[in-house]
Protein backbone atom coordinates (compact mmCIF):
# COMPACT_ATOMS: atom_id res chain seq x y z
CA UNK A 1 0.00 0.00 0.00
CA UNK A 2 1.04 3.53 -0.69
CA UNK A 3 1.56 4.45 2.94
CA UNK A 4 4.70 2.40 2.98
CA UNK A 5 6.27 4.77 0.48
CA UNK A 6 5.45 8.19 1.91
CA UNK A 7 6.46 10.01 5.04
CA UNK A 8 3.80 9.65 7.76
CA UNK A 9 1.92 12.72 8.97
CA UNK A 10 3.01 14.48 12.14
CA UNK A 11 -0.46 14.32 13.70
CA UNK A 12 0.55 16.26 16.80
CA UNK A 13 1.82 19.20 14.76
CA UNK A 14 -1.28 19.07 12.55
CA UNK A 15 -3.61 19.09 15.56
CA UNK A 16 -2.04 22.30 16.84
CA UNK A 17 -3.78 24.08 13.97
CA UNK A 18 -7.20 22.74 14.99
CA UNK A 19 -8.02 24.35 18.36
CA UNK A 20 -11.56 22.93 18.19
CA UNK A 21 -10.13 19.44 18.78
CA UNK A 22 -8.49 20.53 22.01
CA UNK A 23 -11.62 20.35 24.15
CA UNK A 24 -13.43 18.03 26.49
CA UNK A 25 -17.01 16.86 26.54
CA UNK A 26 -18.10 16.58 30.17
CA UNK A 27 -14.52 16.11 31.26
CA UNK A 28 -13.48 13.57 28.62
CA UNK A 29 -11.19 14.63 25.75
CA UNK A 30 -13.10 14.95 22.48
CA UNK A 31 -12.43 12.31 19.82
CA UNK A 32 -13.78 13.57 16.51
CA UNK A 33 -14.52 10.68 14.14
CA UNK A 34 -17.10 12.32 11.89
CA UNK A 35 -14.96 13.95 9.22
CA UNK A 36 -16.78 12.27 6.34
CA UNK A 37 -19.78 14.40 7.37
CA UNK A 38 -17.73 17.53 7.80
CA UNK A 39 -14.01 17.91 8.36
CA UNK A 40 -12.67 20.42 10.85
CA UNK A 41 -11.17 23.67 9.59
CA UNK A 42 -7.53 24.50 10.35
CA UNK A 43 -6.28 27.91 11.48
CA UNK A 44 -4.79 28.92 8.10
CA UNK A 45 -8.23 28.56 6.52
CA UNK A 46 -10.07 30.35 9.32
CA UNK A 47 -7.39 33.08 9.24
CA UNK A 48 -7.69 33.54 5.48
CA UNK A 49 -11.43 34.04 5.83
CA UNK A 50 -11.22 36.39 8.78
CA UNK A 51 -8.41 38.36 7.07
CA UNK A 52 -10.65 38.67 4.04
CA UNK A 53 -13.46 40.13 6.15
CA UNK A 54 -11.06 42.38 8.06
CA UNK A 55 -9.12 43.64 5.04
CA UNK A 56 -10.72 43.03 1.63
CA UNK A 57 -14.47 42.49 1.96
CA UNK A 58 -16.54 43.94 -0.88
CA UNK A 59 -18.87 42.62 -3.53
CA UNK A 60 -17.21 41.14 -6.59
CA UNK A 61 -17.28 41.83 -10.34
CA UNK A 62 -19.16 45.09 -10.43
CA UNK A 63 -17.05 47.40 -8.31
CA UNK A 64 -14.47 49.81 -9.65
CA UNK A 65 -13.17 50.68 -6.19
CA UNK A 66 -10.09 49.27 -4.51
CA UNK A 67 -11.75 46.79 -2.17
CA UNK A 68 -14.01 45.36 -4.84
CA UNK A 69 -11.02 44.84 -7.08
CA UNK A 70 -9.19 42.99 -4.32
CA UNK A 71 -12.22 40.83 -3.57
CA UNK A 72 -12.85 40.15 -7.26
CA UNK A 73 -9.27 39.07 -7.92
CA UNK A 74 -9.28 36.81 -4.85
CA UNK A 75 -12.60 35.28 -5.81
CA UNK A 76 -11.65 34.71 -9.44
CA UNK A 77 -8.21 33.34 -8.63
CA UNK A 78 -9.71 30.85 -6.20
CA UNK A 79 -11.38 29.18 -9.21
CA UNK A 80 -8.04 28.75 -10.95
CA UNK A 81 -6.34 27.47 -7.82
CA UNK A 82 -9.02 24.85 -7.07
CA UNK A 83 -9.11 23.82 -10.74
CA UNK A 84 -5.35 23.29 -10.66
CA UNK A 85 -5.69 21.22 -7.46
CA UNK A 86 -7.93 18.67 -9.22
CA UNK A 87 -6.03 18.72 -12.50
CA UNK A 88 -8.41 20.83 -14.58
CA UNK A 89 -6.15 22.59 -17.08
CA UNK A 90 -8.88 25.00 -18.19
CA UNK A 91 -8.80 26.85 -14.85
CA UNK A 92 -11.88 28.95 -14.17
CA UNK A 93 -13.41 28.01 -17.52
CA UNK A 94 -13.81 24.51 -16.15
CA UNK A 95 -14.59 25.18 -12.50
CA UNK A 96 -17.85 26.58 -11.14
CA UNK A 97 -18.42 27.43 -7.49
CA UNK A 98 -21.72 26.14 -6.14
CA UNK A 99 -23.12 25.74 -2.64
CA UNK A 100 -22.04 22.10 -2.30
CA UNK A 101 -21.79 18.80 -4.17
CA UNK A 102 -25.57 18.49 -4.14
CA UNK A 103 -26.01 21.78 -5.96
CA UNK A 104 -23.35 20.75 -8.48
CA UNK A 105 -25.37 17.61 -9.20
CA UNK A 106 -28.53 19.67 -9.52
CA UNK A 107 -26.88 22.16 -11.82
CA UNK A 108 -26.00 19.53 -14.42
CA UNK A 109 -29.18 17.49 -13.90
CA UNK A 110 -31.25 20.61 -14.59
CA UNK A 111 -29.13 22.46 -17.15
CA UNK A 112 -28.20 19.35 -19.15
CA UNK A 113 -30.72 16.70 -18.03
CA UNK A 114 -33.95 18.64 -18.52
CA UNK A 115 -32.81 19.64 -21.99
CA UNK A 116 -31.32 16.36 -23.20
CA UNK A 117 -33.17 13.51 -21.48
CA UNK A 118 -36.39 11.98 -22.77
CA UNK A 119 -38.25 8.69 -23.07
CA UNK A 120 -35.91 5.89 -24.13
CA UNK A 121 -32.88 7.54 -22.55
CA UNK A 122 -31.22 5.93 -19.56
CA UNK A 123 -29.39 7.40 -16.62
CA UNK A 124 -27.11 4.83 -15.00
CA UNK A 125 -26.34 5.22 -11.30
CA UNK A 126 -24.85 2.88 -8.71
CA UNK A 127 -26.62 1.29 -5.75
CA UNK A 128 -24.19 3.14 -3.50
CA UNK A 129 -25.05 6.66 -4.70
CA UNK A 130 -25.51 9.37 -2.11
CA UNK A 131 -28.97 10.95 -2.21
CA UNK A 132 -27.29 14.03 -3.71
CA UNK A 133 -26.97 12.15 -6.96
CA UNK A 134 -29.63 9.45 -6.57
CA UNK A 135 -32.60 11.69 -5.71
CA UNK A 136 -31.56 14.36 -8.20
CA UNK A 137 -31.29 12.06 -11.22
CA UNK A 138 -34.32 10.02 -10.12
CA UNK A 139 -36.48 13.14 -10.06
CA UNK A 140 -35.10 14.58 -13.31
CA UNK A 141 -35.67 11.21 -14.96
CA UNK A 142 -39.28 11.20 -13.73
CA UNK A 143 -39.81 14.66 -15.21
CA UNK A 144 -38.27 13.80 -18.57
CA UNK A 145 -39.53 10.23 -18.97
CA UNK A 146 -36.03 8.79 -18.88
CA UNK A 147 -35.25 5.52 -17.09
CA UNK A 148 -32.84 5.02 -14.20
CA UNK A 149 -30.71 1.91 -13.81
CA UNK A 150 -28.52 1.00 -10.85
CA UNK A 151 -25.21 -0.83 -11.04
CA UNK A 152 -25.36 -3.42 -8.27
CA UNK A 153 -23.07 -3.74 -5.29
CA UNK A 154 -21.40 -7.10 -4.61
CA UNK A 155 -21.41 -8.92 -1.27
CA UNK A 156 -18.02 -7.45 -0.42
CA UNK A 157 -19.17 -3.89 -1.05
CA UNK A 158 -17.66 -3.29 -4.48
CA UNK A 159 -19.38 -2.37 -7.71
CA UNK A 160 -20.32 -5.37 -9.82
CA UNK A 161 -18.44 -4.40 -12.99
CA UNK A 162 -20.03 -7.23 -14.98
CA UNK A 163 -23.37 -5.71 -14.13
CA UNK A 164 -22.00 -2.27 -15.04
CA UNK A 165 -21.15 -3.57 -18.51
CA UNK A 166 -24.74 -4.81 -18.86
CA UNK A 167 -26.27 -1.58 -17.54
CA UNK A 168 -24.32 0.81 -19.72
CA UNK A 169 -25.65 0.58 -23.27
CA UNK A 170 -26.17 2.78 -26.31
CA UNK A 171 -29.35 4.02 -24.59
CA UNK A 172 -27.29 5.38 -21.70
CA UNK A 173 -27.22 9.15 -21.83
CA UNK A 174 -25.56 9.80 -18.47
CA UNK A 175 -23.55 7.75 -16.02
CA UNK A 176 -23.43 9.31 -12.57
CA UNK A 177 -21.30 7.44 -10.06
CA UNK A 178 -19.80 8.10 -6.68
CA UNK A 179 -15.99 8.05 -6.60
CA UNK A 180 -15.70 7.03 -2.93
CA UNK A 181 -18.78 5.65 -1.16
CA UNK A 182 -19.63 7.64 1.97
CA UNK A 183 -21.15 4.49 3.49
CA UNK A 184 -19.03 1.56 2.32
CA UNK A 185 -15.76 3.42 1.94
CA UNK A 186 -15.31 1.76 -1.45
CA UNK A 187 -13.05 3.54 -3.90
CA UNK A 188 -14.78 2.85 -7.19
CA UNK A 189 -12.93 2.20 -10.48
CA UNK A 190 -14.05 5.52 -11.95
CA UNK A 191 -11.61 5.44 -14.88
CA UNK A 192 -13.09 2.15 -16.04
CA UNK A 193 -16.67 3.39 -15.53
CA UNK A 194 -15.98 6.59 -17.46
CA UNK A 195 -14.37 4.64 -20.32
CA UNK A 196 -17.34 2.27 -20.43
CA UNK A 197 -19.78 5.16 -20.63
CA UNK A 198 -17.76 6.95 -23.28
CA UNK A 199 -17.65 3.80 -25.42
CA UNK A 200 -21.43 4.21 -25.60
CA UNK A 201 -21.28 7.99 -26.14
CA UNK A 202 -22.75 8.70 -22.71
CA UNK A 203 -21.68 11.61 -20.53
CA UNK A 204 -20.24 11.02 -17.08
CA UNK A 205 -20.69 12.75 -13.74
CA UNK A 206 -18.51 11.69 -10.82
CA UNK A 207 -19.43 12.58 -7.23
CA UNK A 208 -16.07 13.22 -5.61
CA UNK A 209 -17.30 14.54 -2.25
CA UNK A 210 -15.40 11.84 -0.32
CA UNK A 211 -12.56 11.48 -2.82
CA UNK A 212 -11.08 14.96 -3.27
CA UNK A 213 -10.51 15.43 0.49
CA UNK A 214 -8.75 12.10 0.92
CA UNK A 215 -6.61 11.29 -2.13
CA UNK A 216 -4.95 12.83 -5.17
CA UNK A 217 -7.64 13.43 -7.81
CA UNK A 218 -6.93 14.34 -11.43
CA UNK A 219 -10.18 14.90 -13.29
CA UNK A 220 -8.45 14.79 -16.69
CA UNK A 221 -6.76 11.51 -15.90
CA UNK A 222 -10.16 10.11 -14.86
CA UNK A 223 -11.66 11.57 -18.01
CA UNK A 224 -14.96 12.53 -16.36
CA UNK A 225 -17.11 15.08 -18.16
CA UNK A 226 -18.31 16.49 -14.83
CA UNK A 227 -16.90 16.08 -11.34
CA UNK A 228 -18.26 17.54 -8.09
CA UNK A 229 -16.98 18.06 -4.55
CA UNK A 230 -17.58 20.15 -1.41
CA UNK A 231 -15.35 22.57 0.46
CA UNK A 232 -16.28 21.58 4.00
CA UNK A 233 -15.08 17.99 3.73
CA UNK A 234 -11.58 19.08 2.62
CA UNK A 235 -10.54 21.42 5.45
CA UNK A 236 -12.43 24.26 3.82
CA UNK A 237 -15.57 26.13 4.86
CA UNK A 238 -19.22 25.15 4.50
CA UNK A 239 -21.29 27.01 1.91
CA UNK A 240 -19.06 26.34 -1.08
CA UNK A 241 -18.86 23.41 -3.44
CA UNK A 242 -17.34 22.87 -6.84
CA UNK A 243 -18.42 21.65 -10.23
CA UNK A 244 -15.73 20.71 -12.71
CA UNK A 245 -16.90 20.38 -16.29
CA UNK A 246 -15.08 20.03 -19.58
CA UNK A 247 -14.74 23.48 -21.11
CA UNK A 248 -16.76 22.86 -24.27
CA UNK A 249 -19.58 21.16 -22.33
CA UNK A 250 -19.97 23.95 -19.79
CA UNK A 251 -19.70 26.60 -22.51
CA UNK A 252 -22.70 25.31 -24.44
CA UNK A 253 -25.00 24.76 -21.44
CA UNK A 254 -27.59 27.32 -20.45
CA UNK A 255 -27.71 28.54 -16.83
CA UNK A 256 -29.56 26.68 -14.10
CA UNK A 257 -30.17 29.69 -11.85
CA UNK A 258 -30.79 33.22 -13.03
CA UNK A 259 -30.04 36.65 -11.65
CA UNK A 260 -27.39 39.30 -11.44
CA UNK A 261 -23.69 38.92 -12.16
CA UNK A 262 -24.19 36.20 -14.75
CA UNK A 263 -25.41 38.19 -17.73
CA UNK A 264 -23.91 39.80 -20.77
CA UNK A 265 -26.85 41.89 -21.92
CA UNK A 266 -30.36 42.30 -20.51
CA UNK A 267 -33.37 43.97 -22.07
CA UNK A 268 -36.99 43.91 -20.93
CA UNK A 269 -37.53 41.10 -23.40
CA UNK A 270 -34.46 38.91 -23.26
CA UNK A 271 -31.08 38.21 -21.70
CA UNK A 272 -27.78 36.73 -22.81
CA UNK A 273 -25.23 35.03 -20.62
CA UNK A 274 -21.73 35.80 -19.49
CA UNK A 275 -18.76 33.45 -19.69
CA UNK A 276 -18.18 30.26 -17.70
CA UNK A 277 -18.08 30.10 -14.71
CA UNK A 278 -19.95 33.36 -14.06
CA UNK A 279 -23.06 32.35 -15.99
CA UNK A 280 -23.57 29.56 -13.45
CA UNK A 281 -22.92 31.77 -10.40
CA UNK A 282 -25.74 34.33 -10.22
CA UNK A 283 -26.14 36.62 -7.26
CA UNK A 284 -23.49 37.47 -4.71
CA UNK A 285 -21.38 34.33 -4.51
CA UNK A 286 -19.63 32.78 -1.47
CA UNK A 287 -16.61 35.10 -1.63
CA UNK A 288 -15.10 34.55 1.82
CA UNK A 289 -15.72 30.83 1.38
CA UNK A 290 -13.85 30.87 -1.94
CA UNK A 291 -10.93 32.56 -0.19
CA UNK A 292 -11.15 29.89 2.51
CA UNK A 293 -11.28 27.06 -0.03
CA UNK A 294 -8.21 28.50 -1.76
CA UNK A 295 -6.41 28.41 1.60
CA UNK A 296 -7.64 24.84 2.22
CA UNK A 297 -6.23 23.69 -1.09
CA UNK A 298 -2.89 25.35 -0.28
CA UNK A 299 -2.99 23.67 3.12
CA UNK A 300 -3.69 20.19 1.74
CA UNK A 301 -1.13 20.51 -1.00
CA UNK A 302 1.51 21.48 1.52
CA UNK A 303 0.79 18.29 3.46
CA UNK A 304 0.64 16.34 0.21
CA UNK A 305 -2.38 14.36 -0.93
CA UNK A 306 -0.39 11.12 -1.23
CA UNK A 307 0.41 11.43 2.46
CA UNK A 308 -3.21 12.25 3.30
CA UNK A 309 -4.31 9.13 1.46
CA UNK A 310 -1.69 6.96 3.16
CA UNK A 311 -2.77 8.31 6.54
CA UNK A 312 -6.42 7.56 5.77
CA UNK A 313 -5.55 4.04 4.68
CA UNK A 314 -3.51 3.44 7.81
CA UNK A 315 -6.40 4.59 10.03
CA UNK A 316 -8.95 2.59 8.04
CA UNK A 317 -6.85 -0.52 8.43
CA UNK A 318 -6.34 0.03 12.17
CA UNK A 319 -10.05 0.70 12.71
CA UNK A 320 -11.02 -2.28 10.61
CA UNK A 321 -8.72 -4.57 12.60
CA UNK A 322 -9.81 -3.23 16.00
CA UNK A 323 -13.54 -3.29 15.21
CA UNK A 324 -13.58 -6.69 13.52
CA UNK A 325 -12.14 -8.17 16.72
CA UNK A 326 -15.37 -7.24 18.54
CA UNK A 327 -17.92 -10.07 18.73
CA UNK A 328 -21.23 -9.26 17.11
CA UNK A 329 -19.87 -6.32 15.16
CA UNK A 330 -20.43 -6.27 11.40
CA UNK A 331 -18.36 -3.98 9.14
CA UNK A 332 -19.71 -2.99 5.75
CA UNK A 333 -17.61 -2.44 2.65
CA UNK A 334 -14.36 -3.88 1.29
CA UNK A 335 -11.45 -5.03 3.40
CA UNK A 336 -8.60 -2.54 3.90
CA UNK A 337 -6.58 -1.91 0.78
CA UNK A 338 -6.15 0.58 -2.04
CA UNK A 339 -9.88 0.50 -2.85
CA UNK A 340 -10.95 1.25 0.74
CA UNK A 341 -11.10 4.83 2.03
CA UNK A 342 -10.72 5.98 5.62
CA UNK A 343 -14.24 5.51 6.88
CA UNK A 344 -15.81 2.46 8.50
CA UNK A 345 -19.54 1.80 8.77
CA UNK A 346 -20.71 -0.93 11.10
CA UNK A 347 -23.55 -2.37 13.15
CA UNK A 348 -23.47 -4.06 16.53
CA UNK A 349 -25.80 -6.97 17.28
CA UNK A 350 -28.62 -6.04 19.70
CA UNK A 351 -27.64 -2.35 19.77
CA UNK A 352 -29.36 0.13 17.47
CA UNK A 353 -26.95 2.48 15.69
CA UNK A 354 -28.47 5.53 17.37
CA UNK A 355 -28.06 4.02 20.82
CA UNK A 356 -24.48 3.21 19.89
CA UNK A 357 -23.84 6.80 18.82
CA UNK A 358 -25.40 8.09 22.05
CA UNK A 359 -23.15 5.86 24.14
CA UNK A 360 -20.12 6.88 22.05
CA UNK A 361 -21.08 10.47 22.80
CA UNK A 362 -21.00 9.63 26.51
CA UNK A 363 -17.36 8.70 25.89
CA UNK A 364 -16.85 11.98 23.98
CA UNK A 365 -16.42 10.00 20.78
CA UNK A 366 -18.21 11.70 17.87
CA UNK A 367 -19.47 9.21 15.32
CA UNK A 368 -22.43 9.32 12.96
CA UNK A 369 -25.42 6.99 12.99
CA UNK A 370 -28.24 6.74 10.51
CA UNK A 371 -28.62 6.08 6.82
CA UNK A 372 -25.84 8.52 5.76
CA UNK A 373 -28.05 9.73 2.90
CA UNK A 374 -27.92 6.29 1.28
CA UNK A 375 -31.31 4.84 2.23
CA UNK A 376 -31.66 2.50 -0.76
CA UNK A 377 -28.18 1.10 -0.10
CA UNK A 378 -29.16 0.45 3.53
CA UNK A 379 -32.25 -1.37 2.25
CA UNK A 380 -29.94 -3.49 0.10
CA UNK A 381 -27.70 -4.17 3.09
CA UNK A 382 -30.82 -5.09 5.06
CA UNK A 383 -30.23 -2.64 7.90
CA UNK A 384 -32.15 0.49 8.88
CA UNK A 385 -29.12 2.35 10.10
CA UNK A 386 -25.38 1.96 10.53
CA UNK A 387 -22.83 3.68 12.71
CA UNK A 388 -19.90 5.29 10.93
CA UNK A 389 -16.47 6.35 12.13
CA UNK A 390 -14.45 8.48 9.73
CA UNK A 391 -11.01 10.02 9.93
CA UNK A 392 -8.94 12.89 8.68
CA UNK A 393 -5.42 14.27 8.87
CA UNK A 394 -5.76 15.22 12.54
CA UNK A 395 -6.78 11.78 13.80
CA UNK A 396 -4.28 9.41 15.34
CA UNK A 397 -4.45 5.63 15.49
CA UNK A 398 -4.69 6.00 19.30
CA UNK A 399 -8.13 7.60 18.92
CA UNK A 400 -9.53 4.25 17.85
CA UNK A 401 -9.09 2.98 21.43
CA UNK A 402 -11.81 5.18 22.97
CA UNK A 403 -14.12 4.15 20.12
CA UNK A 404 -13.55 0.49 20.91
CA UNK A 405 -14.08 1.15 24.64
CA UNK A 406 -17.37 2.92 23.91
CA UNK A 407 -18.56 0.04 21.73
CA UNK A 408 -17.65 -2.47 24.43
CA UNK A 409 -19.49 -0.34 26.97
CA UNK A 410 -22.58 -0.37 24.75
CA UNK A 411 -22.29 -4.11 24.43
CA UNK A 412 -22.07 -4.54 28.20
CA UNK A 413 -25.08 -2.29 28.72
CA UNK A 414 -27.27 -4.02 26.15
CA UNK A 415 -25.82 -7.54 26.33
Amino acid sequence: MSHQRVEPLDVEAIRAEYPILDQSVDGTPLVYLDSAATAQTPDPVVDAMSDYYRESNANVHRGIHHLSQQASVAYEEAHDRVAEFVGASGGRKELVFTKNTTESENLIAHAWGLRELGPGDEVVLTQMEHHASLVTWQQIAMRTGADVKYIEVTEDGRLDMDHARKCITDDTAMLSAVHVSNTLGTVNPVNELVDLAHEHDALTFIDGAQAVPTRPVDVEEIGADFYAFSGHKMAGPTGIGCLYGKEDLLAELDPYLYGGGMIRKVTYDDSSWGEVPWKFEPGTPPIAEAVGLHAAVDYLEEIGMERVQAHEERLAEAAYDALSAIDGLTIYGPEPGPDRAGLVSFTLANVHAHDLASICNDHAVAIRAGDHCTQPLHDTLGVAATARASFYVYNSVDEIDPLVEAIEDAQALFG
Partner: protein
Protein backbone atom coordinates in the same frame (compact mmCIF):
# COMPACT_ATOMS: atom_id res chain seq x y z
CA UNK B 1 -18.95 10.17 31.60
CA UNK B 2 -21.48 12.53 30.04
CA UNK B 3 -25.06 13.27 30.91
CA UNK B 4 -26.31 11.14 28.05
CA UNK B 5 -25.43 7.95 29.89
CA UNK B 6 -28.45 8.67 32.06
CA UNK B 7 -30.57 7.84 29.02
CA UNK B 8 -29.78 4.18 29.49
CA UNK B 9 -30.91 3.60 33.05
CA UNK B 10 -31.96 0.15 34.10
CA UNK B 11 -35.66 0.77 33.62
CA UNK B 12 -35.23 1.74 29.97
CA UNK B 13 -32.91 -1.16 29.24
CA UNK B 14 -35.37 -3.50 30.94
CA UNK B 15 -38.28 -2.32 28.79
CA UNK B 16 -36.07 -2.52 25.69
CA UNK B 17 -34.92 -6.05 26.37
CA UNK B 18 -38.28 -7.28 27.71
CA UNK B 19 -40.89 -5.16 25.97
CA UNK B 20 -44.38 -5.23 27.52
CA UNK B 21 -47.43 -5.62 25.29
CA UNK B 22 -45.31 -6.45 22.28
CA UNK B 23 -47.09 -7.95 19.30
CA UNK B 24 -50.20 -7.44 17.23
CA UNK B 25 -53.81 -7.70 18.48
CA UNK B 26 -56.18 -9.97 16.63
CA UNK B 27 -59.14 -7.66 16.28
CA UNK B 28 -58.11 -4.08 17.08
CA UNK B 29 -60.61 -1.25 17.05
CA UNK B 30 -57.91 0.74 15.31
CA UNK B 31 -54.27 0.31 14.47
CA UNK B 32 -51.80 2.81 13.18
CA UNK B 33 -48.20 2.87 11.97
CA UNK B 34 -45.61 5.61 12.28
CA UNK B 35 -41.96 6.10 11.54
CA UNK B 36 -39.03 8.27 12.36
CA UNK B 37 -37.40 8.77 8.97
CA UNK B 38 -34.16 9.95 10.54
CA UNK B 39 -33.35 6.52 11.91
CA UNK B 40 -35.79 4.26 10.08
CA UNK B 41 -37.57 3.29 13.31
CA UNK B 42 -41.13 2.11 12.74
CA UNK B 43 -43.83 1.41 15.32
CA UNK B 44 -47.31 -0.04 14.96
CA UNK B 45 -49.89 0.41 17.69
CA UNK B 46 -53.00 -1.78 17.95
CA UNK B 47 -55.79 -0.62 20.27
CA UNK B 48 -58.99 -2.31 21.40
CA UNK B 49 -61.56 0.14 22.78
CA UNK B 50 -64.43 -0.43 25.14
CA UNK B 51 -67.01 2.01 23.87
CA UNK B 52 -69.89 3.15 26.07
CA UNK B 53 -72.13 6.19 26.04
CA UNK B 54 -69.70 7.88 28.39
CA UNK B 55 -66.87 7.58 25.90
CA UNK B 56 -64.22 5.15 24.83
CA UNK B 57 -61.82 3.43 27.18
CA UNK B 58 -58.67 1.65 26.09
CA UNK B 59 -59.17 -1.98 26.92
CA UNK B 60 -56.11 -3.50 25.27
CA UNK B 61 -53.10 -2.04 23.54
CA UNK B 62 -50.05 -3.58 21.88
CA UNK B 63 -47.13 -2.33 19.83
CA UNK B 64 -44.78 -3.87 17.31
CA UNK B 65 -41.86 -2.69 15.24
CA UNK B 66 -38.14 -2.13 15.35
CA UNK B 67 -36.12 0.69 16.69
CA UNK B 68 -33.63 2.05 19.15
CA UNK B 69 -33.80 1.49 22.89
CA UNK B 70 -35.42 4.87 23.50
CA UNK B 71 -38.27 4.40 21.02
CA UNK B 72 -38.92 0.77 21.99
CA UNK B 73 -38.78 1.37 25.74
CA UNK B 74 -41.01 4.38 25.35
CA UNK B 75 -43.58 2.30 23.44
CA UNK B 76 -43.41 -0.47 26.01
CA UNK B 77 -43.92 1.93 28.93
CA UNK B 78 -46.66 3.83 27.14
CA UNK B 79 -48.67 0.69 26.43
CA UNK B 80 -48.35 -0.24 30.11
CA UNK B 81 -49.89 3.06 31.21
CA UNK B 82 -52.57 3.34 28.54
CA UNK B 83 -54.74 0.42 29.59
CA UNK B 84 -57.88 1.74 31.30
CA UNK B 85 -57.30 5.30 30.10
CA UNK B 86 -59.91 7.06 27.99
CA UNK B 87 -59.21 8.19 24.45
CA UNK B 88 -59.57 11.76 25.66
CA UNK B 89 -56.87 11.14 28.21
CA UNK B 90 -54.62 9.69 25.50
CA UNK B 91 -55.21 12.68 23.26
CA UNK B 92 -54.46 15.13 26.04
CA UNK B 93 -51.02 13.62 26.70
CA UNK B 94 -48.06 15.85 25.92
CA UNK B 95 -44.43 15.25 25.10
CA UNK B 96 -43.46 15.95 28.69
CA UNK B 97 -45.68 13.11 29.83
CA UNK B 98 -43.53 10.69 27.85
CA UNK B 99 -40.23 12.06 29.04
CA UNK B 100 -41.56 12.08 32.61
CA UNK B 101 -42.58 8.46 32.14
CA UNK B 102 -39.10 7.58 30.86
CA UNK B 103 -37.67 9.32 33.89
CA UNK B 104 -34.45 10.42 32.20
CA UNK B 105 -33.17 13.44 30.32
CA UNK B 106 -33.54 12.77 26.63
CA UNK B 107 -30.95 14.59 24.52
CA UNK B 108 -32.46 16.96 21.94
CA UNK B 109 -31.42 14.77 19.02
CA UNK B 110 -33.23 11.77 20.47
CA UNK B 111 -36.53 13.35 21.48
CA UNK B 112 -38.22 12.13 18.29
CA UNK B 113 -37.38 8.57 19.27
CA UNK B 114 -38.99 9.09 22.67
CA UNK B 115 -42.28 10.53 21.44
CA UNK B 116 -42.83 8.30 18.39
CA UNK B 117 -45.12 5.79 20.15
CA UNK B 118 -47.23 8.50 21.77
CA UNK B 119 -47.67 10.28 18.45
CA UNK B 120 -48.63 7.04 16.68
CA UNK B 121 -51.25 6.21 19.33
CA UNK B 122 -52.67 9.74 19.25
CA UNK B 123 -52.78 9.98 15.46
CA UNK B 124 -54.39 6.56 15.29
CA UNK B 125 -57.08 7.67 17.76
CA UNK B 126 -57.75 10.90 15.85
CA UNK B 127 -58.04 9.09 12.54
CA UNK B 128 -60.39 6.56 14.16
CA UNK B 129 -62.57 9.38 15.46
CA UNK B 130 -62.60 10.98 12.04
CA UNK B 131 -60.82 14.10 13.29
CA UNK B 132 -57.81 13.50 11.06
CA UNK B 133 -56.77 11.53 8.05
CA UNK B 134 -53.52 10.15 6.78
CA UNK B 135 -52.07 6.73 6.33
CA UNK B 136 -48.90 6.87 8.32
CA UNK B 137 -47.46 9.06 11.01
CA UNK B 138 -44.10 10.62 10.33
CA UNK B 139 -42.25 12.32 13.14
CA UNK B 140 -40.91 15.51 11.63
CA UNK B 141 -39.98 17.62 14.64
Amino acid sequence: MGTGSDMYRQQILDHYKNPRNYGELEDPTFSHVGENPMCGDEIRMDVVLDETDDGATIEQVAFSGDGCAISQASASMLTSTLQGKTVDELLSMERDDVTDMLGVDISPMRIKCAVLAEKVAQDGAEIYRGDADGEKTTIED
